[in-house]
Subunit: 375 residues, 2 copies
């Protein structure tokens, strides 16, 4: 099983058609596609095309309501609270950040919190929206509980990513990371490869460190205990309470301020209940935005130019790897796993779409893709 490369244009056309077939409008389909494919372009495979099947299931189960209209339930010149009414996470996220940006342009700052949503893709997409508008952007989201708090044995927080993006030259600062050591996707990859998990990632049902990927995943799914450690591991010696603390900051701006579901209640039964947070800050409220951008760009360059550890040849600033990945993928195509392509084939059958219209005579069953995705 390998990877097959598809051009951005092919995947864009395909995703757009899938989401309009599900009943979204052309504009809505384009937003969802844009969020998914930015993830693939940035090399974050876990949150791109690979998620198609999850959205499919979510719509089928009624967890995602294709026709939901989000509602602004509370608003001030610097803030808003959105009720997503179980709509598609990407649409709720996109609209929420648009509102935050508009407020930041008028009032300097806009903070928006959203409840009753669903998975919204990569948090960084929304932070980038603000950055593209010349602002500092933040976004965070809670999720199904997977992080075990320090000294606990049951997951009580989500992977709870926090993203921030800020204008800089030659490319923006772009930080997007879960507040757990790793995401569930990483565990699934180790599981598929039959490899033991690295030390410091996961806990068994009793709260002890575990390297047994199948067991950990089984317990997570059955909510039997265990899960992923906060950034900083499971003991205070390496700062477990800090990762757990950042997870809490995410929870505050998503589920707490929106009066939505905290992660320990999300994705149970037929209700997603996912909550998000968004902030846009206009750097002009601190002086000349050009000087601030120059100051940031200078520091980022100093970081890149700083002396390297023996054996290393590059210090990355946040967003640099994503920019590099995007350049390669725009040029040579986006690698998609044959397994994902099997799911795509199923999806085409379900939606009565012509697979070959997009992917020619490629067959995932007969694929002998030799390309390996090393990103």
């Amino acid at each position: 099983m390998g990877y097959v490369n598809w051009s951005y244009e092919v995947l864009k056309k395909f995703c757009n058609d899938v989401f309009t077939s599900f009943g979204f409008s052309a504009d809505e389909a384009q937003i969802i596609t844009d969020v998914l494919l930015l993830s693939d372009l940035y090399g974050i495979e876990s949150h791109g095309m690979q998620r198609m099947v999850r959205y499919h299931k979510g719509i089928e189960k009624g967890m995602i309501d294709v026709h939901a209209k989000l509602e602004i339930v509370f608003e001030t010149p610097v803030s808003a609270v959105i009720d997503g009414h179980d709509g598609m996470g990407q649409l709720i996220g996109h609209k929420s950040m648009e509102i935050a940006i508009e407020k930041a342009k008028k009032s300097g700052i806009g903070i928006v919190t959203a409840r009753n949503s669903n998975h919204y893709g990569i948090a960084g997409y929304y932070a980038k929206m603000a950055c593209d508008a010349g602002l500092i952007g933040f976004s965070c989201t809670n999720s199904e509980a997977i992080m075990v708090p320090t000294f606990g044995r049951l997951a009580m927080l989500g992977s709870n990513p926090i993203a921030c993006s800020m204008p800089a030259e030659p490319y923006p600062f772009f930080f997007d990371a879960s507040t757990t050591v790793v995401t569930r996707g990483k565990l699934e990859i180790y599981n598929k490869l039959g490899k033991p998990l690295p030390e410091g990632w996961a806990l068994d049902k009793d709260g002890h460190p575990s390297s047994d990927a199948p067991d950990v995943l089984k317990n997570i799914i059955s909510k039997n205990g265990g899960g992923i450690m906060p950034l900083g591991g499971s003991t205070e010696a390496l700062g477990s309470h800090k990762g757990y603390g950042y997870g809490m900051l995410c929870e505050i701006f998503s589920s707490i301020l929106s009066l939505g579901m905290t992660s320990n209640y999300c994705m149970q039964g037929t209700k997603g209940g996912i909550c998000h947070g968004f902030a846009a800050i206009n750097p002009a409220i601190f002086g000349d935005p050009v000087k601030i951008k120059e100051h940031m760009s200078r520091y980022l360059q100093e970081l890149r130019d700083a002396p390297k550890a023996e054996g290393q040849d590059q210090i990355y600033t946040h967003g640099e790897k994503e920019i590099a990945a995007m350049a390669v993928r725009m040029d040579t195509g986006i690698p998609v796993n044959d397994n994902t392509m099997l799911e795509v084939l199923d999806l085409c059958e379900f939606l009565k779409m012509d697979f070959s219209k997009y992917f020619g005579d490629y067959s995932p069953e007969k694929s002998n893709s030799i390309f390996e995705n090393n990103y």
Copy 2:
């Protein structure tokens, strides 16, 4: 060498007198004292009385200007930029957060960034100020470079703590943590005890992991390379790039938006150049603050009540340990290291203050304190 316990009232009187003797007004001395002693009450010994000597040295060297008047160099209804003009960090911090709180009460949100300051004590003090006013508070500060970015070998960021506090019952959420795995103070304790550093804390001058406390500290002081790892360690496997990223968020709100010194320039020569960030957010801009507080309190209680890891009997929420430490210290006194008391004796001689007026016939040289500080 042990610890001797002093009542909060004795230390408060002493600190107040020290800072008025240095030339601060009575009001100013009280603010500085309050910041220092909250740290001791909360059990964060490294940032309390023990720091007296650093402030003494800072004033003597001219790095801290006792008579500096801070200046608001830029302001909007939701923001301000402060130039501290090399004043005392605690005074700049206190005034900056007062401004942020005032703006949050009027406009919903206030973000203040400050440059040309000095060490300001614990970041959490300022976050707590906002929380005490019923708001969500944030504070962060850069510092002398001590964090080595992922794949680097030279410290380029400070310990860069980020603090957040939010109203809740029975006690507030209070999170205050460096974005490094540990702070320099921890390395110094291991050094004094002659113990090897735990794995995953520090790097030698070539950027390799090191457990040699004297060598790491020597290199940090001489700026010869090495330092402390970001939260998440030194490799991407455990999330080093995430701790480094949180360190960057701190830098953005302190040194970047204020156009101040980034950590890699701070504390060189006779200039401190430390920068801070402050934010206050009124929960009322998201709805009923009472309901939001209840929602937060409910979640915190669920976390405390969640199943414990085998062998553990408590899951802490952030701020719980500090509240417990404060209750004990208000009751039985604040433990101060005999070494710190030696420095206090020197300080009294320098300022021509009567040591025995505060500490009776206790003599740090002849101390046979049997009390051990186990916090």
